[in-house]
Symmetry: C4
Subunit: 279 residues, 4 copies
């Protein structure tokens, strides 16, 4: 499989226009979290803020607002149990990421359904974690007017595609994606993660086993959301987000046995500055 070249970082992470304002960097909505999975929300939203998204709104349950205020004072919050508020937030966002720590309750199902059905073709919808599990369990068609991105790990991809992990390979994955939705972009999280979109597939060479810890996937979802909000939906944008995540983790892994997601997040502004300089 083709390798994603590091030059994609330089190409995607463009210097900002001096006369721009926060409206130019997109509105991100992270729909995430439930009573027992509050940390996923923090990691995903914090990643989106640290990439430089213009505005980040976190749709979660109110009992998580205090933790979000403490950890991500730059973000706003809404209650996803309030259907009207959720609908309005979806409508007002450029990128919607749904799933981290959401669980599979009936409320979670309603929320995923809202994200699938209320988005439009100017928007990007990222389906992650519980959102993928729900779609698989409910056997819902993978349909939305938005640009669709799926970010499963191999177990979640198995649920969605029906492919056992042993059966998962570039060809079978591409075929399954084609059947699920030929317009969707797939990020398959694994050792050397892969991106599938239309006829293109590619793989990163970065990544390390110190990343094998809870919350790393939630963090990646936040990064991809922030990248699309700023740089637009494309195979390149997603590839750059994916590669940056692992590139930072690789640097950290030299001095850290386990690479904690929060450490990757705090390095985002520095590494993005570095790659935004053009020589």
């Amino acid at each position: 499989m083709e390798k994603i070249n590091k030059s994609v970082l330089n190409q995607v992470i463009t210097p900002r226009n001096p006369e721009s304002y926060k409206g130019n960097y997109g509105k991100v909505l992270i729909i995430s979290g439930s009573t027992h999975f509050g940390g996923a929300t923090i990691l995903c939203s914090s990643a989106a803020v640290n990439t430089g998204s213009g505005l980040v709104t976190v749709a979660t349950i109110p009992e998580k607002f205090t933790a979000i205020n403490v950890k991500i004072p730059e973000a706003m919050t809404i209650d996803y149990q309030n259907k009207k508020a959720l609908t309005e937030a979806i409508k007002n966002s450029d990128v919607i990421a749904v799933g981290p720590g959401l669980g599979t309750s009936s409320i979670a199902k309603g929320v995923v359904k809202a994200a699938l059905t209320q988005t439009n073709n100017k928007q990007t919808l990222i389906l992650d974690a519980s959102a993928i599990t729900i779609i698989a369990q409910e056997n819902w068609p993978l349909e939305s007017k938005a640009n669709l991105i799926l970010t499963p790990h191999q177990g979640e991809w198995q649920r969605l595609s029906g492919l056992d992990i042993a059966e998962q390979n570039p060809k079978s994955n591409a075929q399954s994606l084609q059947q699920l939705n030929p317009e969707a972009l797939l990020v398959l999280k694994k050792h050397h993660s892969e991106v599938y979109y239309h006829e293109t597939t590619a793989q990163i060479e970065a990544g390390n086993p110190g990343m094998a810890t809870g919350g790393m996937g939630d963090t990646l979802t936040g990064i991809i959301a922030g990248f699309i909000a700023q740089f637009g939906f494309s195979f390149q944008t997603v590839s750059a987000g994916l590669l940056l995540h692992s590139t930072i983790a690789d640097k950290l892994n030299k001095d850290n046995y386990v690479v904690l997601p929060s450490k990757v997040i705090e390095k985002l502004p520095k590494y993005m500055a570095k790659y935004s300089y053009k020589d």
Copy 2:
């Protein structure tokens, strides 16, 4: 438009009198926050504390007290829904900043009304964000016995002045301000922000697009509040606060693609020390 010279930092940020005590550095009241906008309160109050305000009280809703205690243990809290407590807090403060994350509920309106009507001519009242929106929406006269400072971004200024963003220019802005309240000071937040007061107008040259992210305006409001509490109300004081905010952000932007408000805040004591040294 005249540029604000960096020497204003040295002029305004004076070394402290060795025999002074916290009563000399002013009492700041930040009236801010609501269920869905808790982070704005944290950023604004934290900025006021980090500039060196003598005492900072945060008037917000009780569900935000835990986050404030965690992030700003130096601050006190009151519930702005308690009219008596709010009235007393306004009376006891030197500088009152109202608006960040306040929202436009009827409670928020009452709170802004209290700030406008209960302040006296020894005090400074800073109107920001939701407070400006409310005054525009309600078509209230822009009147208060206090020294008045407005800190809108261009969209909020449009609501208040009626000037479309395209129509906003030094002349039209000055005229609108004159009509709204000839004694008010206007900080217009934009690319190279501008200050208007009486016949004087000036602009900073600092600032960068990495600042285009949520919470930057709330942070500026807290800095200006802290500066006035310590250095007194004046065109110079406000200019110095505005310039310091962007100067710190410019330094951070060299190594950070996005400049997060919390990073600007944590650098305040160091940069203020630096500019307080007179050669």
Copy 3:
């Protein structure tokens, strides 16, 4: 007035016995905080933990437990509204500090009364902030079986002693203390704070106006509590705690216009290590 010599730091901060365990470093109880003053509790308790107290228990209201768990996971918590629990905690502690952020409610009064009456002659009781105000307001005799330490600022000392700030001087202060309780130790917080005990009075030369900010006094109280828990009640111990607080603040003030209490606290373990080395 005699100056407290820096050598007191070396004398008091003794290297620990390699075979000691946490029981050797004392049990500290911080009775502190109320709905609107949660930060004082965090600063005071955090200072006590960072000096090296064996065990710190925070008696406060339950709505502050989350903030304490986040900021000081090393501490335990109890609810001071539970009389039985408070009585037991007082009985089990070596040092009890009461007052920071306590307010002057009837519950606060009961709590101060409990501290005054339930302590014994093996214990040290530190009265700070609201505790001093309550005793002054209620005109209670300043009596306790415990070693008594008072840590007022000049305004609180005025309330307790009846001396206007202009009337406060070494002689009048010593006389007032003699009348209030000839066995009590007084730390008068001011520019170059002073210590009074029996016939001895002394003053620190350290201290700077960057310390003139909310929470500095709460921090000092926590340091003194931690010092007595480890090094025993004495004029020297209190002087060393007082001097360390200002010495750290003086170092920080070189690079920080305002010296935030939380920064002093985080430096405690390093400076104590430094002064524990005997040449």
Copy 4:
């Protein structure tokens, strides 16, 4: 008594397989915390996360979820008062640590009983703090199908073994352990802590009196849990975890009079990286 050689760190902390994923690094369940002891949960769980456990779930009371989300976003949470949820979590975990900050309420007793009776022979069960006190008080047989590890300090060991601290010595400790459960592994926390397992006993030479502070034992429990989750149950694994804890603390003690548990925890990834490099 034999000394644990530093080489055990190198032997146990093996480099990770590049193709591994988080399932390879174990599922840890920390059953911990109660209203007044919330910090113990944070320290223990945070230590488990920072060693590199694949997934950490914290079973505690819901009022502690916010603090956990803030401090350890990588962890999941459940309510141990929900018997069904607790049973399922125990079943799904590789390592279960029970006791830190649990208290001795009837709910705590039920929780310890569940841990003892619902674990199986593929699992490791670590009994610490309140769990040991409960077993001693209730005179329960020390029985479980899981690999059993006890981590008492000397006072807790006295309660469990009946040996006064003065009577505790390698021989008496080994005999008591034999009687309590000949398959259990004992970590006796003291000056130069000791490990007992089958016929083997050994002692670390690391450790310092700066560690004599609240929360150090909770931290050790989390480290041991994380080590077993990754490196498997063995005398070596436990010895390595114990030694690493004190080795990091010794380095910190050079510059810190008191070694706070949170500082040991934050250094775990760096020291584990260091010891994982094989020359």
